[in-house]
């Protein structure tokens, strides 16, 4: 359609006719700042000015390539169904692409394909569409329609264009306001989600509180949180709103399967606009049973770790917008941190309880030998681990000294620590020597079905001969603090760590424990630091232990004071020290 600005006398009469309608439109623009209210009011007034049965506004999406129905009168389903079409396609798309008014006298004989079925369903016969342009930018399009055939005149076109110009400006302002408002709402919402008070809640309470806030924020009927299990292979429903059965039934699904599983596997948001036509198989029956139509799911990720999936759903069909997705992603980011914190606190508590039950409460009293031991949990909640110390017996009556470290942390590591500790104790009771006990322990953990790895050092103390025989499975070397020589590491041969599949023998070696000297067994948390060599950590330990005769309790205190100041450590530490005090018996 060619440019058809009204001219001459028609322009004069149009102007006088227009004064009031335009005033009306401007007033409307001023009276409302909320975009949806504004558009509804504008359409109402435009219909009455233009004498049309229907009116609709479609706005350009952020991608600059799509029009989305935003407001409609007499065509409300267009908005409810979230109608979209590419710029260039169909009637509205063509108006947007050409930025020119288009008149369709009879849609049954339209030269342009009518894409939106609703127009016909509604019985619209004639259409007039004009672009909404502000300062050369296309904002959207507006169209009006009539049920009776009507040939829109040039005057009609001119009038709607004038109205459209005012509307475009008002819409543009309102969108700016809307964008700012959205930012404010988001900031407020995120503030709420990330509120530190949430950190005080138990995990279950936290999840429910988060879901409450999220459904209000996004405006959905349902919300659910599924968390990755300890093995990292499955998602388990942990909290739900509007979908409580999901949790009650203990719903689980493998990562990769179904809607939530796919979100977890791809770590990307997924929108299902209509569950009945979902491109992804819906595994969870509760979603359909509950009548959910539309779903939006986002991954819960902390520091690059996937911890779960958050999804929201609606009972009526909803086309979740890019804004919705971004907002839920932001929320998920905050929520994930709060959840992770709680999970770790919970795990830490369990691990600490396990740890406390498994560590010996009292050390043996042996004539001439003085023992000291300590377990220092990691300060970082992430690192409650599987370090342990133990004093046990060998078949021949010698005392066994063990320190070990299960790889990993959390409940799994603490549980495995209990297994390895028991295996070492049991085999030592039947073994000739430490290497035998360690080899048997290694074979035990090489069995199919056993998972996990641990380093262990096991010594058999012959107190009469003041000698210790060691076997070492991937564990750091013990330190000997002697009265007359400088402290030194006992660089023991050995073998790979427990659970490594190693089937060979473990080397054994014997060290003297001269009168007055103290032997220190420890786990790697004591000497291992990022950005430095183990040798440097060992040197620091030697310097901390100093030389000379030292009581084992004093040695532990001195070493921890220097290497884990203020009792803090990033990895947990187990320490076991024994001093040969034989000479004191005679002196005392």
């Amino acid at each position: 359609m060619k440019e058809s600005r009204p001219e001459g006398s028609s322009e004069r009469s149009l102007r006088s006719d227009l004064t009031d309608p335009l005033q009306l439109v401007t007033e409307a623009a001023l009276a409302y700042l909320d975009l949806d209210d504004l558009l509804a009011e504008l359409l109402e007034r435009i219909s009455s000015i233009m004498g049309s049965d229907t009116a609709a506004i479609l706005l350009v999406e952020d991608d600059r390539e799509t029009l989305a129905a935003r407001a409609a009168k007499g065509l409300e389903e267009e908005v409810q169904r979230g109608f979209r079409l590419p710029i260039g396609a169909g009637f509205a798309g063509r108006v947007a692409a050409t930025r020119e008014p288009i008149v369709i006298e009879d849609i049954e004989r339209s030269p342009i394909e009518i894409v939106n079925p609703l127009l016909r369903e509604r019985g619209i016969r004639s259409l007039l569409g004009v672009p909404l342009v502000v300062e050369g930018r296309l904002v959207g399009i507006m169209h009006i329609g009539t049920f009776a055939p009507r040939l829109f005149s040039e005057e009609d076109v001119g009038l709607l264009r004038l109205v459209a110009d005012r509307c475009a400006l008002a819409i543009d302002h309102a969108r700016l306001y809307e964008a700012e408002h959205r930012q404010r709402v988001r900031a407020e919402a995120l503030h709420q989600i990330g509120e530190t008070a949430l950190n005080q809640l138990e995990l279950g309470e936290l999840l429910n509180e988060l879901l409450d806030r999220i459904t209000k924020l996004i405006g959905t009927d349902t919300a659910a949180i599924l968390l990755v299990d300890e093995e990292g292979a499955n998602l388990a429903a942990r909290a739900a709103k509007g979908l409580e059965e999901e949790v009650e039934r203990g719903f689980q699904l493998p990562i990769g399967a179904g809607f939530a599983g796919r979100v977890a596997a791809t770590r990307e948001p997924i929108v299902i606009e209509d569950l009945e036509h979902s491109p992804i198989e819906i595994v969870n029956p509760v979603l359909r049973e509950r009548g959910i139509r539309s779903l939006l799911g986002v991954p819960l990720v902390v520091d690059g770790r996937l911890i779960g999936v958050l999804h929201v759903g609606t009972l009526t069909q909803r086309a979740f917008s890019r804004d919705d997705v971004e907002l839920l992603q932001l929320v998920a980011e905050r929520a994930a941190q709060a959840i992770d914190h709680d999970l770790l606190v919970q795990q830490r508590r369990i691990a600490e309880e396990l740890q406390a039950k498994l560590l010996p409460r009292k050390l043996l009293k042996v004539p001439g030998m003085q023992f000291a031991a300590q377990y220092l949990p990691a300060a970082e909640h992430a690192a409650v681990g599987g370090d342990w110390y133990d004093i046990l017996s060998f078949a021949d009556g010698r005392l066994g000294l063990a320190v070990g470290d299960v790889v990993g942390n959390g409940v799994n590591a603490a549980a495995m620590m209990g297994e390895v500790r028991s295996a070492v104790r049991a085999y030592a009771l039947e073994a000739r020597d430490p290497a035998d006990a360690i080899s048997r322990t290694a074979r035990f953990f090489n069995q199919p079905g056993e998972a996990g790895m641990a380093t262990v050092i096991l010594g058999a103390l012959d107190s009469a001969a003041a000698r210790v025989t060691f076997a070492r499975a991937g564990h750091p070397h013990p330190l000997l603090v002697a009265p007359n020589t400088s402290s030194e590491f006992l660089r023991l041969p050995g073998g790979p760590l427990i659970g490594s599949g190693y089937q060979g023998a473990y080397a054994e070696s014997t060290a003297e424990l001269p009168s007055g000297s103290t032997l220190l067994l420890y786990t790697d948390g004591l000497i291992e630091r990022r950005g430095r060599l183990l040798r440097e950590g060992e040197a620091e330990l030697v310097a901390a232990a100093a030389d000379g005769e030292i009581d084992p309790h004093a040695l532990l205190a001195r070493v921890l004071d220097r290497l884990a100041p203020d009792g803090t450590t990033s990895d947990d530490i187990a320490l076991l020290a024994v001093q040969n005090q034989e000479h004191r018996r005679y002196l005392g």
């Binding site: 991937g474 760590l497 190693y502 790697d524 950005g531």
Partner: protein
């Protein structure tokens, strides 16, 4: 931890006709899953693991390497670990990785 995850990278590697992966950065609890996945994706009778630019390995990293060795050994395949230096070499020596079947450890480039 997030900082380490960003600095960490895994790239394809090829030395002396062996093909595999090269690790750059700190191999720890936060990053070792990515090494596991990369090793899983490798084909060939012998897989190269170039640790020249690996600056730190902790027990989680060791576990990942050992698990890969066990899996490959079960399949009759081999892991060739090379360019182990500094703290990485100390850790590998401490746990006596080279005592396992199905692994070769070189402090420099592989010579086989």
């Amino acid at each position: 931890m997030s900082l380490n995850a960003e600095q960490f990278s895994i790239t394809d590697a090829e030395i002396n006709g062996l093909v595999g992966v090269a690790v750059s950065g700190e191999l720890d609890a936060a990053t070792s899953d990515r090494l596991a996945a990369a090793l899983e994706a490798c084909n060939g009778a012998s897989i190269l693991l170039d640790l020249e630019r690996c600056t730190f390995v902790d027990s989680s990293g060791i576990r990942t390497i050992v698990e890969a060795v066990r899996r490959l050994d079960d399949e009759g395949r081999k892991l060739v670990v090379c360019n182990v230096r500094g703290q990485v070499r100390e850790m590998i020596e401490l746990v006596q990785l080279d005592a396992l079947d199905g692994v070769r450890v070189y402090s420099g480039p592989p010579t086989e």
